[in-house]
Symmetry: C2
Subunit: 340 residues, 2 copies
């Protein structure tokens, strides 16, 4: 099992047979003459040989390993998706190899390389370049190249111009449901907080935001859209800015739960009541949302299921089964205290 | 790079040299005669050979991989520790292989096995058996056996009877600081919520709780200690129970931030004000703590630093440097709105 073990190559040499023959005996993948089998077994027993996974994977080309590119362990949404994938992987006999890229493209490249070299059987990809609205072609090509050899499933992302296997929640629909909820509750002035213009997830929500205003004959004001990033700090800072405006929204659609919580905290610290003075909604339904006081209205992306689905699809691709390219999960609106 | 590549063994055969010689040329680890080197390089170029990590690791016995046993991705404390370890690992050139054990001992065993077979160079161990107060000897022996071959660093845990390399926060001191803070604020009736009797982390905090009461001549009441588990649901349920007692504490020490938040929610839903009617303190300073309203008093375990330290120590062990067995980080009391 450990480093001192002799290898299949040593056994092949000692038995004067090919490595493939040793492999056939070890993995029972094809018949081997009885006398040869006995000779090999005797050598294996003599050395107390434990077939090791690395050697085995060189021979039968299976590692049982799946690489997971993961953008940010400080946003609970991603550990939740990973948890779902992990539970599915265990049932299917795969081991997940989690790599935290912090959404940095050069770290992604490093990890992609390192995972391929370690001969993972498949890749789950979240964050970073697959969420970029203007992803440089070299970064797209890197993934396309790998995809020729190793199945890849993208979670909540895409590679423009290249059909990939993807699992995603309909974020556009989610944002639309939230907007309709706010409008139905009488809000006519609605702001948008958080995200970066470069990311597809921000773009989709912003599109839903704009079209919902339009569909309800409400005016779109550019100064009521304040992007930034995906953090609590961003929510806090942008809400502070809104507070200084002579005319401000009565309700806010936030990029995610973290931004929403930052915004809530800024509003509360200025003495505003939620939802009486200002309504605030998040996105993702991380465990934070229901922990808050008041509890946060949000949209569930069914994070666990998203991870599980992606893993199931990846395992089918590894088995060379046909799978449709795109799987879309429907989001669920969760109305809580922060908006009503 | 990928599966089709020929191996170092094929090259050795074709060049009529040993695998070790090919390895020396590939890794530049020892001088090789110029004519031999040229012959090997020519074969490498002819086949467009990409040295692959698996083959390389069979030869030079280095994989650059570190296994991480990780109990629970749904408690932010653990992703935070992992984040610290990850950042340190990247600087040191290691790749972390994260395995979610859900603190289940048989999953731990599976993963330990699988990580060893994949020839990780070291292990970081969190949760599960190393936090068990009465860990079955077979489970201890399994780790002791692996430790003979692979360096292991335990984070916030130990293996009774076996000296291991450990990094931990002084949880006893942390709980003591919290107790003293509550007592200094005039609380004479203090309850304890959450955790399981079986775990060392519960035991340490409970010891600090009892001794602080004693040191301040306050009486210990068994019915004011309500264990359960480490979840928000536990905090909620136990606070509900306390609410039905004719005589109840005015302040609560909770196992972790999650339990504290559950307790806060239960108290708030019954119309109690925090901290005026009841003071509540958590543990860990996960990002939830400061997000809450009111913000949660807690103890920081310096989770990032804990992960980073563990990784640094592990890398020294891998380099066969001498490292002291136990590294203790001091916790920091963070007094926020929920207790004052």
């Amino acid at each position: 099992m450990l480093l001192e073990s002799i290898t299949v190559y040593d056994i092949a040499r000692e038995a004067n047979v090919s490595v493939a023959t040793v492999s056939r005996v070890l993995n029972d993948t094809a018949p081997v003459r009885t006398s040869t089998r006995q000779k090999i077994m005797a050598i294996i027993e003599k050395h107390n040989f434990q077939p090791n996974v690395l050697a085995r994977s060189l021979v039968n080309k299976k590692t049982g390993m799946i690489g997971v590119l993961f953008p940010d362990s400080s946003n609970m949404f991603f550990p939740e998706v990973f948890g779902g994938a992990e539970r599915a992987a265990q049932k299917l006999g795969y081991t997940l190899f989690l790599c935290n890229t912090f959404s940095d493209c050069s770290r992604e490249s490093e990890y992609l390389n390192s995972l391929c070299e370690r001969q993972v059987e498949g890749l789950l990809f979240m964050g970073g370049r697959i969420n970029s609205r203007h992803c440089p072609d070299a970064l797209v090509q890197e993934v396309v190249h790998i995809q020729k050899k190793i199945p890849i499933v993208l979670i909540n992302g895409s590679l423009p111009g290249h059909p990939c296997h993807r699992v995603k929640t309909d974020e556009y629909l989610g944002a639309q449901l939230l907007m309709q909820h706010l409008i139905d509750h009488g809000h006519r002035r609605i702001g948008f907080i958080g995200g970066t213009a470069e990311t597809t997830t921000t773009f989709e929500k912003l599109q839903a935001y704009k079209r919902s205003l339009l569909a309800n004959s409400l005016s779109y004001r550019q100064d009521w859209v304040r992007l930034g990033d995906f953090s609590m700090a961003c929510g806090r800072k942008q809400m502070d800015q809104f507070m200084m405006m002579p005319e401000r929204p009565t309700a806010f659609l936030c990029m995610n739960d973290y931004v929403a919580i930052g915004a809530m905290k800024a509003a509360i610290s200025r003495g505003l009541r939620i939802p009486e003075d200002v309504a605030i909604a998040g996105f993702d339904d991380t465990q934070l949302a229901s922990a808050m006081n008041p509890e946060l209205t949000t949209v569930s992306q069914h994070s666990e299921q998203l991870g599980r689905q992606a893993m199931l699809i990846l395992s089918k691709l590894i088995q060379k089964e046909k799978v449709k390219k795109l799987t879309v999960l429907e989001p669920t609106l969760l109305i809580r205290q922060s908006t009503q």
